[in-house]
């Protein structure tokens, strides 16, 4: 099902002042897989994500994408190479119409106005017909879930090979969460590779091909979801050590 490495981060480090946010972390996203990056709040997930997507530069380490060294490459260039991200706090273009939001994504590869319209339309149609009534609405006026849909649609309109999502279901209700997870699975089945950040591990158990766990900026565990969930170190990171357990150093 999953093939060779599409994206590989090797030995990434990032320090903010006195905090080592990410310490020597290596991860690999393989072609056609859903890789989830999980960990408690403050584990360094978003920092790692920003390092991979070009929004911040690593202090050390390298990022390889489609066989090329893209360490320090700007997000706009990475997007043109096929790596697109979404944000945890929705970053829609608030006072622009919904269809225009998505068109900006579709414009990345140029093409005729008709081609751009068609790409944008197709991206919004991934959510069925539910967005049709909002096309001429300012994105800021939409509900939280719909803003997130616009953002995902906008990202997909760039026709990526790797979609990186930062907590795509944060703030969504269970039905909306299921819908987004279903969409991610469909996209994967159509050949897209997906990297998801999520702090709630149970959410991604069902759809992930592999899971990487971060804790305190370090790589803690990696593997298929069930194996990771049963890993004592992971349980400890999430739940803390039992009170009567022996302290080990």
């Amino acid at each position: 099902m999953s093939g060779s490495a599409l994206l590989a981060a090797v030995g990434l480090c990032k320090r903010f002042g006195g905090v080592q946010a990410v310490n020597d972390v290596s991860i690999e996203v393989r072609e056609g897989e859903i890789l989830s990056l999980v960990g408690p709040n403050g584990a360094g997930k978003t920092t790692l994500f920003n390092l991979i997507t070009g929004f911040i530069r690593p202090d050390a380490g390298r990022v390889m994408f489609r066989g090329r060294d893209v360490t320090g490459t700007s997000p706009e260039k990475l997007c043109r190479m096929g790596l697109v991200r979404t944000f945890q706090a929705s970053r829609v273009f608030g006072d622009m119409r919904v269809d225009d939001n998505v068109k900006v994504g579709a414009m990345v590869h140029g093409g005729s106005a008709a081609a751009i319209d068609a790409t944008a339309q197709a991206a919004l149609d991934l959510f069925g017909t539910r967005m049709h009534q909002y096309l001429d609405r300012a994105a800021a006026k939409l509900s939280f879930a719909n803003r997130r849909r616009v953002e995902i649609g906008r990202a997909l309109a760039t026709r990526p090979v790797l979609l990186a999502m930062d907590e795509p279901t944060a703030g969504m209700n269970p039905a909306e969460t299921q819908e987004i997870m279903g969409l991610v699975r469909r996209l994967r089945d159509d050949g897209l590779s997906v990297l998801i950040i999520e702090h709630d591990m149970t959410l991604v158990m069902g759809i992930s091909d592999r899971v990487v766990v971060l804790d305190h900026g370090e790589h803690l565990a990696e593997g298929p979801p069930e194996a990771v969930r049963a890993n004592p170190a992971v349980i400890e990171a999430y739940l803390g050590r039992p009170l009567d357990a022996p302290q080990h150093h």
Binding site: T53, R91, F93, D95, M96, N101, M107, A113, A157, T158
Partner: protein, 334 residues
């Protein structure tokens, strides 16, 4: 007809109608006082429109556009005096120079977020003011430069104020055409996206820095063309009048009060505020020096307080709301 095409047709129609009205005023008004007013309204509209390209469409506040204005005024005037170069070419030379300066400032400052571009343009204007005063061999210092009055189309100098009004109108048409072109092509969407959220735009491949720098350079070049217009109209330029922070502030105010990032905003801003400023000065300036500013200031404060988004966006929002309500009512009855 598609939405974008219809929007463009409306804009183009309004634009042509506006130019017609302007020309009618230029030809129809006889009184020099009123012609002078027409000239300044169009002049400030053109300047605010030029500022709008970087300050409005990409949302990078500049507080030093007088730097580019002064570069235009001095370049064409010096080229005329020293090389006998026609202002047609002199103004282009000034525009190229200002665009180059704008580009350098933008490349340096627009990588950073925050007030750096505003501060750098402000500092640049002060720097050029001091340079123009001190470099006496070139600029005649604080005394300024005087252009000999030799009317003719080739000289961009006219016997009547009507001629100057048409010159101003032509320049205004050029700057507005650039703004309209931005608004109705995909460039407009990209710039709008940048203004909304730079990180969001970068994430979907928009080359944010490139667009911001291009907008700054184009805006600076068009502003310089207005500097030449000013020099041709008054035929006297001094460092303190063309490198004047009040110009920088006035430009931003007109565009902000009229509505940033809309081509009609700069026009409405100038139509509203230029007659007010000139009228107040004519009415109160001679009897009670400074009193006109006591009235002008609160008008600005109240406008920004009550219509922070600017007049044109405010009107547009109300218009769309009213239309949506009408459609809802019609729909309910159908």
């Amino acid at each position: 007809m598609s939405r974008s095409l219809r929007g463009f047709a409306v804009s183009a129609g309004a634009f042509v109608a506006l130019l017609g009205v302007g020309a009618a005023f230029a030809f129809g008004v006889a009184s020099p006082f009123w012609l002078d007013l027409v000239f300044w309204v169009v002049f400030w509209a053109a300047l605010a429109q030029a500022w709008n390209i970087v300050g409005g469409y990409v949302g990078q506040l500049s507080l030093g556009h007088t730097a580019f204005f002064g570069i235009g005024a001095y370049t064409s005037t010096l080229a005329d005096l020293h090389w006998d170069l026609t202002p047609w070419l002199g103004s282009l030379l000034g525009a190229a120079l200002a665009a180059a300066v704008g580009l350098v400032v933008a490349v340096v400052c627009l990588r950073l977020r925050g007030p750096f571009f505003a501060l750098a343009t402000l500092a640049l204007a002060e720097l050029l003011l001091i340079t123009a005063i001190q470099w006496r061999d070139l600029t005649e210092g604080a005394e300024g430069l005087t252009l000999p009055f030799s009317p003719g189309l080739g000289n961009l100098m006219f016997e009547t104020k009507t001629g100057f009004c048409l010159y101003a109108l032509g320049l205004f048409a050029l700057v507005s055409a650039v703004a309209i072109a931005i608004e109705h092509t995909r460039i407009g969407l990209l710039l709008h996206a940048i203004r909304n959220d730079e990180d969001g735009a970068r994430s979907v491949g928009v080359r944010v820095l490139r667009w911001k720098v291009a907008a700054a350079a184009v805006s600076a070049g068009l502003t310089a063309l207005c500097g030449t217009l000013y020099a041709q109209y008054l035929q006297v330029i001094e460092p303190s009048t063309v490198f004047n922070w009040e110009i920088s502030v006035q430009l931003a105010l007109l565009a902000i009060i009229g509505g940033r990032g809309t081509w009609t905003g700069a026009i409405v801003g100038s139509l509203f505020l230029t007659p007010l400023a000139i009228g107040l000065r004519a009415w109160l300036g001679s009897s009670h020096a400074g009193l006109h500013l006591v009235v002008y200031g609160p008008v600005l404060i109240l406008s920004v307080l009550f219509i922070p988004e600017g007049i044109m966006p405010w009107v547009a929002t109300r218009w769309h709301t009213a239309r949506a309500r009408r459609q809802a009512v019609t729909g309910a009855h159908a």
